[in-house]
Symmetry: C2
Subunit: 448 residues, 2 copies
């Protein structure tokens, strides 16, 4: 269509897209999305795509959700935004109350910010300042994991373990300790659940033993390292991390930005381990995928370390202009009401079982290995040779080929590296899953 | 009211407010805002407040603006959000085009993000990577200014010059060079416009002369250092900085997050100097104060340094989940239409002249000095003794007293330190200004 061409030329002229080598689009267009409805995205020509990645893991109840829309409109009639220092408003208060009611009892306070990166920055800065406020002046380093991804601001990059994204910026990053990553589906030690002694955590225990005096916190993505390759690990890892961080007097920071809001079948992924972290970062699903919003949730112990007479200089001087935006909070409240009223997590239990069952069709594919599922997330690795686990030459960019072929089949597949994954909206239906998997098989047939 | 009490108790129970010593609110409440209309905020009891600081410098056309509201609703009927990598959409494209059309011709590309801090982080990371991509491996430091404020993520804090906010985090910050800040209303060298030789820039010239090989860029808030104390300086400073940064082959990064979108009477504050920066960060007013959104605007030269075959490893791997949120972009487009159709900058010229004239009433106040105006921003310092410029003891927290008294008079005055300022929405009317100034006089009478 003419209109489409004009827009796409303008896109090429004015827009620099995130995470994108723009030269890849020299002779190819971005897909011009016009509207969304439930699990579907529609481009300018009305072509339909299954949004199998929930628009970068943010969408919860599908696109164009009537209830969320109404909630935003209602809030717009009152107040769209006011600074959150000196002022407060009911949308922020109600959302905070609802979030705290969903957290373990020792997590009691909500500090809002705008995106996943800032929710992580807030957690890191709070942890750091906590120790200063308490007189532990030497505690300033963090431990993070290989393959971890916590966002793109310099603090978040400093605890990022994806070399391709983060390596370049080394001169700008603060010093941290990197620890071996748990990866139960590809265990380095060839252990199974019943023989595993958490060998992968020996390294971090050693770091803690030798350096706990200078260490402020450990930060980890719970159960799945997402952007770094959809690596799964057992809840036992989190349990053990909770133990050793307590033992060595350092904070455990859980980054639920991707996994939070039901993705893994529980509201928070760390619940699978039955632990209470010191600080939790959340974003993405918080506004049901509608608007930028984030929060860092902390224990009373953290909160109290900052609570003192002003002149004692313990204040947390951090904030963003749009902190606790009322429209985003209104979306968040309505989303949590839907969770409750629709008993959404019970539904997810059913659909996720169906998903896990359905994924078995890929077991016979000679280019697919390491199929893994948790909640409404499923992932599998594409290999050249399944027997030897030999990968495709990275120059071939096999993930990219699959991605592009996916569009032809009306499917948003956006592999991380050579790993195909689904990150489905919680509203997904069994029929959707069936069709998505069928189409994925067609894509694989076409590419591999 | 009972309802109000319940909300305020919940606020105290669940919410940690930004930039706030929560103990200050042990026996005092945050103001519970219920709705807004034009320049007014209304609390739960219907009490009216003049929003003289545009809700932290974000609001442009007043609260509850019919046009912006409609634009958001219209966009919600189509698509509320989709990831901006691989996909594009007309709201982001149209807003980018409109922004580029408002910029000097050499600024050609828009990279979206979520808030002012990320718009700055993107600028810093792009500048840094630009030099890597070009083979200048040593360039990695930035020069920033005393009293500067660029946000609260670790990268932004690394170029922040407000000791009270930033000092504590030193161990987490990357090394930068700090330069003396220009401050024309309190010139250290006792110069006037006609005698000034830009003595305050001798320091930065020296830093550049000695270190340009390792310096990536200079970052500055244009014309007014806002959060750091509303310090004004002449456009000549920006002109000179543009010259020396060119001469020494380093980038000039202009942080228009606060000043952009007409606050200083021109669309961008750097226009007063007739320069073209290499990178410009914008946020706040971009969505008319409705929703979190930001962008970093760059020259073709910057863009081209990243544009290459994928395997050359020059890609800018940065992005946020909510990048280019369509609802926020829709608000941004509508806002720029209002600028155009209402000839808003012409109106601002009139109201800002009126504001400047009206500020003269404070000249006779024996506790007010250093009155300064630019566009719809005006500021003045509160002193104990005008003759000696002696300040109030910081323990008295005179700014806080004024702030609280302001509420009694239906006025949002939120001094930075001991500096009272207005940062008015562009829709402000002369009658509003008249009333705001009258009430401010009453506040001062009550406190000083
Ligand atoms: C675990 C995790 N943390 C943080 C982030 C950063 O969030 P944002 O993109 O909103 O800055 C992401 C984004 O994908 C993430 O997956
Ligand atoms: C000049 C400047 N840059 C950056 C920021 C940070 O913006 P945000 O609060 O949206 O992160 C601010 C905020 O006040 C600012 O005034």
């Amino acid at each position: 269509m003419i209109g489409e061409r004009i827009w796409l030329e303008k896109d090429r002229e004015y827009v620099w897209h995130p995470f994108t080598q723009m030269k890849d689009y020299e002779n190819k267009d971005h897909v011009l999305i016009e509207r969304g409805e439930g699990i579907f995205l529609y481009d300018y020509n009305g072509k339909e795509y299954y949004d199998t990645i929930s628009s970068w893991w943010v969408n919860v109840h599908g696109h164009n959700n009537v209830r969320i829309k109404k909630a935003i409109i209602k809030q717009m009639e009152k107040i769209e935004h006011v600074n959150f220092s000196g002022f407060t408003h009911t949308p922020a208060i109600e959302l905070a109350e609802r979030i705290i009611n969903l957290m373990p009892k020792d997590l009691t306070r909500v500090f809002y910010s705008d995106n996943g990166s800032t929710a992580v920055e807030v957690a890191l800065k709070m942890s750091f300042q906590y120790w200063k406020n308490k007189g532990f002046d030497k505690k300033k380093n963090f431990i993070y994991f290989e393959n971890s991804y916590h966002g793109d601001t310099i603090g978040a990059v400093s605890v990022g373990g994806v070399q391709g994204y983060h390596g370049l910026y080394k001169p700008l990053l603060f010093d941290s300790f990197i620890s071996e990553a748990p990866n139960c589906k590809k265990c380095k030690y060839n252990k199974e659940a019943n023989s595993c002694q958490l060998e992968c955590l020996n390294g971090i225990e050693k770091i803690l033993e030798e350096n706990s005096e200078t260490i402020s916190g450990v930060i980890i993505e719970p159960l799945i390292q997402a952007a770094g390759g959809m690596h799964f690990y057992s809840p036992r890892v989190l349990k053990k991390l909770r133990e050793v961080t307590k033992q060595y007097n350092v904070h455990l920071i859980i980054d639920e930005v991707a996994m939070g809001f039901g993705r893994t079948g529980k509201m928070w992924a760390f619940e699978h381990a039955g632990i209470t972290p010191d600080l939790v970062s959340i974003s993405k699903g918080i506004s049901a995928g509608y608007l930028p919003l984030a929060a860092t949730i902390v224990t009373d112990d953290i909160y109290n370390a900052f609570y003192d007479d002003y002149n004692k200089n313990k204040t947390f001087f951090h904030g963003h202009s749009y902190t606790a935006n009322p429209l985003a909070c209104a979306a968040g409240i309505e989303s949590l009401k839907i969770f409750e009223e629709d008993k959404l997590l019970e539904k997810v239990k059913e659909t996720s079982e169906y998903l896990e069952e359905s994924m078995k069709v890929f077991e016979n594919n000679e280019h697919i290995e390491n199929i893994r599922c948790l909640g409404l997330i499923a992932a599998m690795d594409v290999v050249k040779n399944k027997k030897t686990s030999e990968k495709y030459d990275s120059k071939i960019r096999i993930g990219k080929k699959i991605y592009e072929k996916g569009f032809e089949h009306g499917l948003v597949l956006r592999p991380v590296g050579d790993t195909i994954y689904y990150f489905l909206p919680l509203s997904v239906k069994k029929e959707d899953i069936k069709e998505i998997i069928k189409r994925t098989q067609d894509v694989l047939l076409g590419v591999l």
